[in-house]
Symmetry: C2
């Protein structure tokens, strides 16, 4: 039996649409066109390198035309050998169109699924493990993230850009060539909205950034510390939702990732690569997601918000309790997770 | 390389603990003992029937002592042939202990992971597909849900009981013999808290239950309707987070599942079995979760809340965008999903 496809236009929903859940207040992007991806419903069915890879250099004609490409020195180029390439997603979750249908504010609230969905191809060769890229190559990837975010910031249709990477089939990847994605939307994501509200509350009560305070505490009593440099701190957060969840925060307060200077991007790339390499080695090469949390476009230099990177390895599955409760069960204490990621062994001395 | 285990007591966290995420406001249950489950980190590694199944009748000694068991006529029995059996989870996420450590309300907020974690074994024989159980057997399962919830309602330590089923490895199941679970906690889950707040708001503004209004609208314009009987209505919600997500609601307003009469439980069982059977048949036998959303123990007969069952088939994976944004991308419109589940074919007439 073939899987059910989604081409029909029932209810006028052949196009993307944002729908607001009246009870959870979450947005849902209804994206029927995305179901046409070749690996449709590809739980565990990662497309293997046996086929022709559309992301390899030389196969540029297999993808939509690029929106940006970088040379090895970080220059934007139109042609010639690229090191990082940005393209529109062929099966986008949102539609990059100018005109927008008006918002529906009936009992059921919805608005047109306008937005931008790009793919950042992280290297020209068929490398599949992010940690196998060089520090320099990863720095280029982060430069691309920053530049694309800065670019879309100028688009009046958009309120936020979410950068994320799905690595491995268990983490939702459908192609194995190292890549990440950007989805920019006219709505600020629910989770960012929550963080903004709560961090503003904290600032008002305590006169300081809650993230800066977190950094201070994690350094003062380093039981959850994974790595630190002059520029960045990495730790397993106190209320980690997932085993081995790790956050990287810049020590210097900053709310907008797109304002980060080149030098700092390199420092971030080096630290991220190191931590992902350790996860690969110590946790049996798990699938993972990482994502950048940053302040919305419609603001500059917020004193209460602090951009950061969240790394979420997939060593366990999310099940009925989590979907029902909206709360999480984590089988590994963040203190133990940090110990393993920092020292490469469990606290009792056993080698992993 | 063996997976990392979690026996150590670093940070005094060998016991279960509820931790509050300061930014998302979600609770996280840190449950290190649960990592000792045999199928630890078992992404996709469902324990097959090749081994001895601890849930089959005759193997009662392989599990902790039962807390309840039912005969074929629905009588509670101490011995003799059971049809449904309830046992404490051998690897509980929360600890059923009397004394509680005091709550920590420092920068990092936490409280002792007190609670109850039970397994409901749904049949005596090694049946793995819920839809292969008889309507009568499923009615017994729902009777057990209701009775266990009514029982724990009387426990002053507890505020809420979450009933859920994980079916298939992709949905987080670790054993294949048909079973479901109950986790009762001293905290009300974040998602239920949200639903209570929003449904109370709606009631205050409009003078009626938002769920009753939803039922009215889904019946008036049945584009998302899946099934209806005199007692129950099933539809794919307007802002479904997952492809083919389906909710079952009682037509008659009721806030507490544990107050449901026997006759209604039978009607619910029959409808649930029918819908799950169709999903199995039409969607290539996906993993799924279902769960019961109900009002907390500390209340009776709320006019703004309406208990219901949510069915969440796993036909796609949750990836970086969802974790980062807290919002969802759904590739199948709820209108199309409902059409498929109702008529067994796509809207354009193709057989699935």
């Amino acid at each position: 039996m073939r899987p059910v496809s989604s081409t029909s236009k029932i209810g006028g929903c052949g196009m993307s649409e944002f729908r607001k859940d009246p009870l959870s207040d979450h947005w849902v992007i209804i994206a029927p066109n995305r179901a046409e991806r070749p690996e449709q419903f590809g739980l565990g069915s990662l497309e293997r390198s046996t086929g022709r890879c559309p992301f390899c250099r030389g196969h540029e004609a297999d993808t939509p035309a690029q929106t940006a490409a970088y040379s090895a020195t970080g220059r934007l180029i139109d042609q010639g050998p690229w090191q990082v390439r940005v393209i529109p997603n062929k099966f986008p979750a949102v539609e990059n169109v100018r005109e927008q249908r008006p918002e529906q504010r009936d009992f059921f609230r919805s608005r047109h699924g306008v937005g931008v969905h790009e793919v950042i191809i992280e290297c020209p060769d068929h490398v599949t493990a992010f940690s196998h890229l060089s520090d320099q190559q990863i720095s280029l990837v982060f430069q691309a993230y920053r530049d694309r975010m800065a670019y879309w910031r100028g688009d009046p249709r958009l309120a936020y850009a979410q950068i994320f990477k799905n690595s491995g089939a268990s983490a939702g990847a459908s192609l194995e060539h190292a890549h990440s994605q950007l989805i920019a939307t006219p709505v600020v994501p629910t989770q960012i909205e929550n963080e903004l509200v709560r961090s503003a509350d904290y600032f008002q009560q305590h006169g300081r950034c809650v993230f800066c305070e977190m950094i201070r505490r994690e350094l003062a009593d380093p039981i959850r510390l994974v790595e630190q440099t002059e520029q960045f701190v990495a730790f397993c957060p106190f209320a980690s939702q997932f085993p081995y969840e790790t956050w990287i925060l810049p020590r210097q307060h900053g709310s907008h990732f797109e304002f980060t200077e080149d030098g700092r991007l390199v420092g971030l790339a080096v630290m991220l690569r190191k931590i992902l390499g350790r996860m690969e080695h110590l946790l049996n090469d798990p699938g993972f997601n990482y994502l950048i949390h940053t302040a919305p476009f419609g603001s500059t230099h917020l004193s209460h918000y602090h951009w950061h990177v969240e790394i979420l390895p997939r060593v366990s599955n999310t099940a009925g309790f989590e979907w029902g409760a909206g709360d999480y069960i984590n089988m590994v204490t963040p203190e133990q997770a940090a110990h393993v990621l920092r020292f490469g062994r469990e606290p009792d001395g056993r080698q992993t």
